[in-house]
């Protein structure tokens, strides 16, 4: 347990800067998409009520890949709302991907492997576990 103190290791300043950009950029894109689509949705659905919104999810048919692409091409605000949610969820994933890149660049094999496992777990959870228990 005791002995020489561990050798401090730290990701480069570039890695810190890139991660800040990823987090800020992802948030701005996601919120801009969701808020502008929400505005359009409200304009297109003037008679919608809180009760109908709580009881049914307007993006349900746009959650699949083909549904999302068709909705985006047709300019449906619900599809852009779904895209905003996807962008928000993708932001931390991009951040993990950025981490893998910089750990690999620094030659940190264990941390590269650990972070890759985290990314795989996230992707499996989102792409496989979610649809499976749905």
């Amino acid at each position: 347990m005791t002995g020489a103190p561990p050798v401090p290791r730290r990701l480069s300043d570039t890695a810190y800067t890139r991660m800040t950009l990823v987090l800020r950029g992802g948030l701005i894109v996601a919120l801009a998409l969701m808020l502008s689509a929400l505005g359009l949705y409200l304009v297109e659905n003037p008679s919608a009520t809180s009760g109908s919104t709580i009881s049914s999810n307007p993006i349900q048919q746009y959650l699949s890949g083909p549904g999302l692409v068709q909705g985006l091409a047709a300019g449906r605000p619900e599809a852009y709302l779904a895209l905003g949610v996807y962008a928000l969820i993708a932001t931390p994933l991009l951040r993990v991907l950025t981490g893998i890149y910089y750990f690999r660049e620094d030659g940190e094999r264990t941390m590269t492997a650990v972070t890759t496992v985290v990314l795989v777990l996230l992707l499996v959870g989102i792409l496989v576990l979610g649809p499976l228990i749905h």
Binding site: R10, M19, L38, S50, I59, L88, T110
Partner: protein
């Protein structure tokens, strides 16, 4: 109620929740999830999905600020995500499964109890600001879990090293489950792991916890989105409002007595927790 008015009210309440969450250190989701359940009649899994989206947004805001200031230990944070992510996936899967089994009441009681458990951690005296006599374990030594940051309050650079990684991984797994189950950040548990087990300086622990919360929430949110429990018409105004509230809180917090603010608002969270439990057992 007209949807436009509903969205506006949601955003305004979320600003207040973000403000309270920021001032108490509990996070916006801790306030917003029970508020959605009690005052807006949002079903449990949809409230949890909204909470997950809210955490994603607030974590990207505060997480980015701490990363920019070099207070976050990226290496330790990314290492511990190997425990929080499976925990969050399990938690979100449990929420979906138990909802399908019509066990919403049990989830509500569990949420109320977790909220009550979180509050003392938020008001209790935090651990040592700068821990001394830290002995790193073998893994911490091998992976070089140590670092340095500039402490503006102390006007000097502070060096630190991490201690018990096994204990921290265990607590982080539990924090992930809580986050996935209830759509709250569970930052109190994450800070506990970073403070008590890894024995990091409090500023590094808080910053690293904020950084990790987003990835944990993404795991839960992905499962809940696929199950149809993320409704962006509700989530968008709530997430935006909470981010605005948290930003306002971070601007006014330095001018306030932190402990006084916490003592002031903690009864609010306790009242919400008790109301959630009472509703679950069918009492008004």
């Amino acid at each position: 109620m007209d949807l436009g008015l509903f969205v506006l009210i949601l955003a305004l309440v979320a600003i207040l929740a973000g403000l309270v969450g920021s001032l108490t250190g509990l996070g916006g989701g801790v306030v917003m999830v029970p508020v959605l359940l009690i005052f807006f009649g949002v079903p449990f899994p949809v409230a949890v999905g909204t909470g997950s989206v809210t955490i994603l947004a607030t974590s990207a805001t505060t997480g980015a600020a701490y990363v920019r200031d070099r207070l976050t230990d990226l290496r330790i944070g990314m290492f511990l995500e190997i425990a929080t992510v499976p925990g969050a996936l399990l938690g979100a899967a449990l929420t979906v499964t138990l909802t399908h089994a019509d066990l919403d009441e049990a989830l509500l009681i569990a949420l109320g109890l977790v909220l009550i458990a979180i509050v003392p951690g938020a008001i209790a005296r935090r651990g040592e600001e700068l821990p001394t006599g830290v002995v790193p374990d073998e893994r911490s030594r091998r992976l070089g879990f140590s670092g340095q940051y500039h402490d503006a309050a102390l006007h000097r650079d502070v060096s630190y090293q991490a201690a018990d990684t096994d204990g921290a991984l265990g607590v982080m797994f539990g924090a992930g489950i809580v986050s996935g189950l209830f759509g709250i950040g569970a930052g109190v548990f994450k800070v506990l792991a970073l403070d008590r087990y890894l024995r990091l300086p409090m500023k590094v622990a808080t910053a690293t916890s904020n950084f990790m919360i987003g990835v944990t929430a993404a795991a839960g949110a992905g499962v809940l989105l696929a199950a149809g429990y993320i409704n962006p018409v509700i989530a968008a105004p709530v997430a935006t409002g909470t981010v605005v509230g948290a930003y306002i809180g971070s601007r006014i917090l330095p001018g306030l007595q932190n402990r006084t603010v916490r003592i002031l608002f903690v009864p609010v969270v306790l009242a919400l927790a008790i109301e959630v439990i009472l509703r679950a057992v069918g009492l008004p």
